[in-house]
């Protein structure tokens, strides 16, 4: 029978497949000038249009969906709930984070497995903002799924996760807003897309609590000069405070409906 044959064929000798690459590599954009134009027409210091909404998944205690340009993520928060049996007694609550990607998130098909790096980075970014003393002995789970990866994935996940935590009613010192900046030659560009990230010389991400003016995480990779770092940090912090306002508006809108 057709089905059985197709099934057997697939199981027995899973054919090796490849993703067809474009016939011509797009020419590398020119970054030498100071005033090159970004592919989507944005200014260097302009973020992508953002859309955020809480209450995306009803099965969770709290959830949020965020869309920054082509980057689309959904975060669900479960708990506070019973910690794993193997865990020892703890006076303060535990935070458990997990980030995964869909297989079709990137231009070439992925495996859809967990992203360990992002999971631990998300954990570190949120840990400082949550009042863990408010749920002793229990665990709060923060699970994120990147539906489409369009660049600056981690910052979007972090901002979205803080919205989901607020939606779940988890006590926090403040919302966490996250923004990243890429350094390409002489230019600093904010909220880079995947293409821009692939050409970057260095990257800086700040996750912070805007109303308290406290940074929960700062990561710096690649080649940087000290004045550039200062400039990038200023840029990020400024964007974070604006994003923080946006997150607050989103929560206020959800509450007023």
């Amino acid at each position: 029978m057709g089905v059985e044959a197709a099934m057997a064929g697939k199981a027995a000798n899973a054919p090796t497949t490849y993703s067809p690459s474009p016939s011509q590599k797009p020419a590398r954009p020119i970054f030498e000038d100071v005033d090159w134009v970004r592919a989507d027409g944005r200014n260097f210091h302009e973020c992508r249009p953002a859309f955020m909404k809480t209450g995306a998944a009803n099965a969770a205690s709290g959830s949020a969906y965020a869309e920054f340009g082509n980057t689309k993520v959904i975060v669900s928060v479960f708990g506070p709930r019973e910690s794993k049996k193997a865990m020892l007694y703890s006076d303060i609550g535990r935070l458990n984070c997990n980030v995964s990607f869909t297989t079709f998130a990137a231009p070439t098909r992925g495996q859809g497995s967990d992203n360990k790096d992002f999971s631990s980075m998300l954990h570190k970014a949120l840990e400082g903002a949550i009042i863990l003393e408010s749920f002793p002995k229990t665990t709060v789970d923060v699970f994120a799924l990147v539906l489409e990866s369009g660049g600056s994935d981690l910052p979007v996940v972090v901002s979205c996760a803080s919205l989901a935590l607020a939606d779940a009613g988890i006590m926090m010192y403040d919302l966490v807003a996250a923004v990243s900046v890429s350094c390409i030659r002489k230019s600093l560009i904010i909220d880079p897309s995947s293409d821009e990230e692939s050409y970057q010389d260095g990257s800086l991400m700040i996750t912070c609590m805007p109303s308290r003016n406290e940074v929960t995480q700062l990561t710096l990779t690649g080649e940087w000069s000290t004045p550039k770092i200062h400039e990038a940090m200023e840029l990020c912090l400024d964007a974070c405070s604006k994003l923080g306002k946006l997150l607050r508006t989103c929560l206020r809108d959800a509450a007023s409906v």
């Binding site: 057709g2 089905v3 099934m7 064929g9 497949t17 490849y18 690459s21 479960f78 079709f104 998130a105």
Partner: protein, 305 residues
């Protein structure tokens, strides 16, 4: 006066909530006697259903299907493979159903849900045995290259009738699928060609100019039921599925053939008359879903033109 009334209502509500938690079956039976369900639906009414095409730009075809709160995201990625010798003109379809931890409180990372592989298998069976897709349409070059369509369905929110929503999303993703223009490069590998380039220069021959969309025939649509005593509840939510354990899923294609009748056990026995009722309900639901899908396709065409 007003406050005391409000308090009285609150007490009443709390008692009902406690009753619902403590005696879920008796709570449901009280409703069933009135031919109603706690979410105000009559027994044979489905929840609001919607389909959105193309939510994910990085996939070759994608769709989001919602039945009530149950949300499914399906995405298709096309890759190139060498067809097997026995069927040199056939492409292939690989289907996987995922339940990431975001969708439900019972799924934890590293511990996949028990039902996920079972639904994967059901989806594969339904799509392949309905003959919805002619695998020949996925052919590129006889014996040399054909498309391998990887369909991945993600459950974003799980609230019962998972298979119905997953199949709807899968079918919608296939109807949204845009096959990229490709040609053969000098090394014999298949490469994509941008549309303008394909039209303008004819230095490289485009292999699949006419095969940009799949023609779907005999599209399968599914409807799930929960049986309890003599009642048939259509399109159950997660609570109903957990309280009443006799689930039946009927898959029919548009020509009226039975693609699958799935009943994995359960205390309530299904008699022929019940099964006939289920098939009739599934047939009507198929027409409804077809209309929802057609409307979504029409909306997309209007948007693009």
């Amino acid at each position: 006066m007003e406050t005391s009334l409000a308090q009285g209502e609150l007490v009443g509500e709390m008692e009902m909530d406690a009753y619902r938690r403590l005696f879920p079956l008796r709570f449901y039976e009280r409703y069933l006697l009135e031919s109603l369900r706690p979410d105000t639906r009559p027994l044979i009414q489905c929840r609001d259903t919607s389909v959105a095409l193309g939510p994910v730009a990085s996939a070759d075809g994608s769709a989001l299907a919602k039945i009530g709160c149950t949300t499914m995201l399906a995405g298709i990625k096309l890759e190139v493979m060498t067809p097997v010798a026995e069927s040199p003109d056939d492409g292939c379809i690989a289907i996987e159903f995922h339940m990431p931890p975001i969708c439900s409180a019972i799924v934890r990372p590293g511990r996949p849900a028990e039902v996920a592989p079972v639904i994967s298998k059901q989806l594969t069976d339904a799509i392949l045995s309905s003959g919805m897709i002619n695998l020949k349409e996925l052919s590129l070059i006889h014996g040399k290259a054909a498309w391998m369509a990887y369909l991945d369905v993600y459950c974003l929110d799980s609230d019962g009738s998972l298979f119905d929503a997953a199949l709807l999303a899968a079918v919608a993703a296939f109807s949204h699928l845009q096959i990229p223009l490709v040609s053969l490069n000098d090394e014999g590998r298949v490469v994509t060609v941008s549309a303008e380039l394909g039209e303008g220069k004819s230095s490289k021959e485009v292999v699949n100019k006419e095969k940009r969309k799949l023609k779907l025939t005999n599209i399968p649509f599914s409807l799930s039921f929960v049986l309890h005593k003599k009642y048939i509840l259509v399109d159950p939510n997660a609570e109903e599925e957990s309280i009443m354990d006799s689930l039946v899923t009927v898959v029919l294609d548009l020509s009226g053939r039975l693609v699958s009748l799935y009943k994995p056990g359960g205390q309530v026995l299904a008699y022929t008359s019940t099964l006939k009722d289920c098939v009739a309900l599934a047939r009507n639901r198929g027409k409804e879903l077809k209309k929802i899908l057609d409307d979504a396709l029409l909306d997309m065409e209007e948007d693009s033109s």
